[in-house]
Symmetry: C2
C-alpha cells in the first residue's frame, strides 16, 4: 500500500474531513449542527463499514510510526479530545484508538487535578504525559480544561485564565517544533442528546458507573460552556495546531471523522519503513552459522 | 452473560489452560515441546475463530474491571510476558491486549535500563509502572530480566542476583496482597523456530527494524538462558503468583492460551457492575428538570 492509496479519498467523503471540520473564524459554537455529518454522504451502515476499512489503514500507518520511533525518530502524533460530558470521548478511544496496536498508544485521561497536580503549574501534568517518539498519544481532556471548566467555575481569576490562551499557543508551538503533530478535536453534542445519553446511564445497570450527579449541575451552565468553547476555538486554533469541530450526536460519524483526521496527520509524516542499521548480508551469514 | 457462561470451558479445550500450562516442580525447560498446544484439541483455524470469540469475553470482563476501578476498587490484573527474542511478546500485546479497550490498559515495555534506571534499585522502574485499580497492566519484559539477562551476562555478581529470587517473591506477595492478580507467562520458542523468525526479519523490508544483531549473539548463550529460565520457574513460581509455560512456535496457540489465562484471572475477581453511588430516582427527576 503506498501513501497515495492510503490518502486517496473514499467517494462517500465528498469533502475531506480535515477540510470539512477545520474550524474557521466564522465557526459559531452556538450554531453547530451536532447531528450533521460534514463531508460525508453515507449513512450509518456506510460509516460502520468505513470504520473497519479505514481502521486498518490507520493501524498500518501507526505501525510504521512505531517502527520509526524504535529506530530513533522523535516524531509523534497527539490526539487531544475535548468535549462536554457524554460527547463520546471514551467511546472514541475504545473504537478508534482500539483499532491500533496498544504498544504504540500512550493514553492519558485527565480528571479533576489531584492535590499534587494542584501544587504545580497546570501544564506540569500535561508535560509528564506527552508521547515519546513513535507513539500515538491520546489525551482524554487536556490542558484545555484550564480554560474551560476553570473559566466557567471561576477556579482562578479572569486575569489568570485569560493569559493561558497565549501560553497554550506557545506551548503547542514548541511541541510541534519538537516533532509532535497535534490533532485537536472539539466534540459537540446537543443539550437534548446529552439528556438522552445521561438518561440511558440512569436506566442501565451496566452504565450506572458512568453517571455523575455533577453532570446535571453542569447542564445549567451550558451557555457559559458554549462561550468558553467559543473562546477556545477563536484563540487557540492556530496554523501549527488547528482545532477540528466534530458533531457527535451520531457516534458512527464522529468515529470515522476522527479516524480520517488521524490518517491525514500520519500520512503527512510521509513515513517509510526505517532502513536496516546493519549489513543485511553479513547478518544473514551470522544467523546461518548460529 | 453470567460469570458461569464466561468461564464455561469450550469443548476444544480438553484441559483448561490454567491447568495445562501451570508450571510444576517437574517442568524442565530443556524438554518443553515448543510446538505443542497443551490442553487444546483444535487446529489453527479453530484457534483463530476462538481468539475472536473469547476476545469478546475478555473485553467484557475487562470493561467491568475498569468500571469497578473508576468506582474505587483497588484491584488490578498484571500480565507479565517473559521470553527469548522472537517468542512473540509484541504480537501477544497486539493481538490479545488489542482486543480490549485501550482506556483500561497500562502497557510498559522494559528495555535495557536507562542511565537513570541504572542508578536505582532494579524494582524502581517496575514500581513506577504498576497498574492502578481497575487497570489491566501489561509488562513486556519485567523485573525478571534482572535474573535472566543479568545472570547470563554476569552484569552483577552471583551473590547479588541469587538473592533476587527471594526478593521478587516477597515483592510479588505484597502486590497480590494489595489486590493485583499476577498472570506470569513464560513464552518458549525453539532454537530453530527463532532462526526462522530472525531470517524473516532479515528478508522483509517491513521487518528490518525488528532485527537486532545482538539477537544472534544471544543465540550462542541458549543453554545459559535455559538454565536461567529453569531457575526462574523453580524459584519464583509461587502459590500467590505462579508461572505459566506457554509453547510459542504456533503463534495462534500462544494467543488463545494467554487469552484464557486472562479470562480466568478476571473471572476469579467475581466482578459485577458497580452499584450506583447516588439515588437513581432522584437523579432521574433532576435530569428531567435540567
Amino acid at each position: 500500500m503506498t501513501t497515495h492509496d492510503r490518502t486517496k479519498r473514499h467517494p462517500l467523503w465528498t469533502t475531506p474531513a480535515v477540510e470539512a471540520l477545520r474550524t474557521t473564524t466564522h465557526t459559531k459554537v452556538s450554531e453547530i449542527d451536532t447531528k450533521a455529518t460534514p463531508g460525508f454522504a453515507g449513512n450509518k451502515a456506510d460509516g460502520e463499514y468505513m470504520l473497519e476499512e479505514r481502521g486498518a489503514v490507520l493501524s498500518a500507518l501507526q505501525e510504521m510510526l512505531y517502527a520509526n520511533g524504535r529506530s530513533g525518530d522523535k516524531r509523534s502524533v497527539l490526539l487531544i479530545l475535548q468535549g462536554m460530558d457524554t460527547a463520546g470521548k471514551g467511546g472514541m478511544v475504545r473504537h478508534v484508538i482500539g483499532q491500533v496496536d496498544p504498544q504504540g498508544v500512550d493514553h492519558t485521561a485527565f480528571g479533576v487535578p489531584t492535590p499534587e497536580e494542584k501544587r504545580h503549574h497546570y501544564l506540569w501534568r500535561i508535560n509528564k504525559a506527552l508521547p515519546r517518539g513513535g507513539q500515538l498519544g491520546v489525551f482524554d481532556r487536556s490542558h484545555y480544561e484550564d480554560v474551560l471548566v476553570v473559566r466557567v467555575h471561576n477556579l482562578v481569576p479572569p486575569e489568570v485564565w485569560s493569559g493561558r490562551y497565549q501560553e497554550i499557543n506557545q506551548f503547542e508551538r514548541e511541541l510541534v517544533y519538537n516533532g509532535t503533530t497535534l490533532v485537536k478535536v472539539a466534540m459537540f453534542v446537543s443539550l437534548d442528546e446529552q439528556k438522552r445519553r445521561l438518561a440511558e446511564r440512569l436506566e442501565r445497570r451496566d452504565k450506572h458507573w458512568k453517571y455523575n450527579p455533577d453532570d446535571v449541575t453542569e447542564r445549567s451552565l451550558w451557555p457559559q460552556y458554549q462561550e468558553a468553547y467559543q473562546a477556545m476555538l477563536d484563540k487557540t486554533s492556530t496554523d501549527h495546531a488547528p482545532w477540528y469541530v466534530v458533531p457527535c450526536d451520531r457516534k458512527w460519524y464522529s468515529r470515522i471523522a476522527v479516524t480520517e483526521l488521524l490518517i491525514d496527520a500520519l500520512s503527512r509524516l510521509e513515513l517509510d519503513w526505517p532502513p536496516a542499521e546493519y549489513d543485511i548480508e553479513v547478518e544473514k551469514q551470522r544467523l546461518a552459522r548460529s
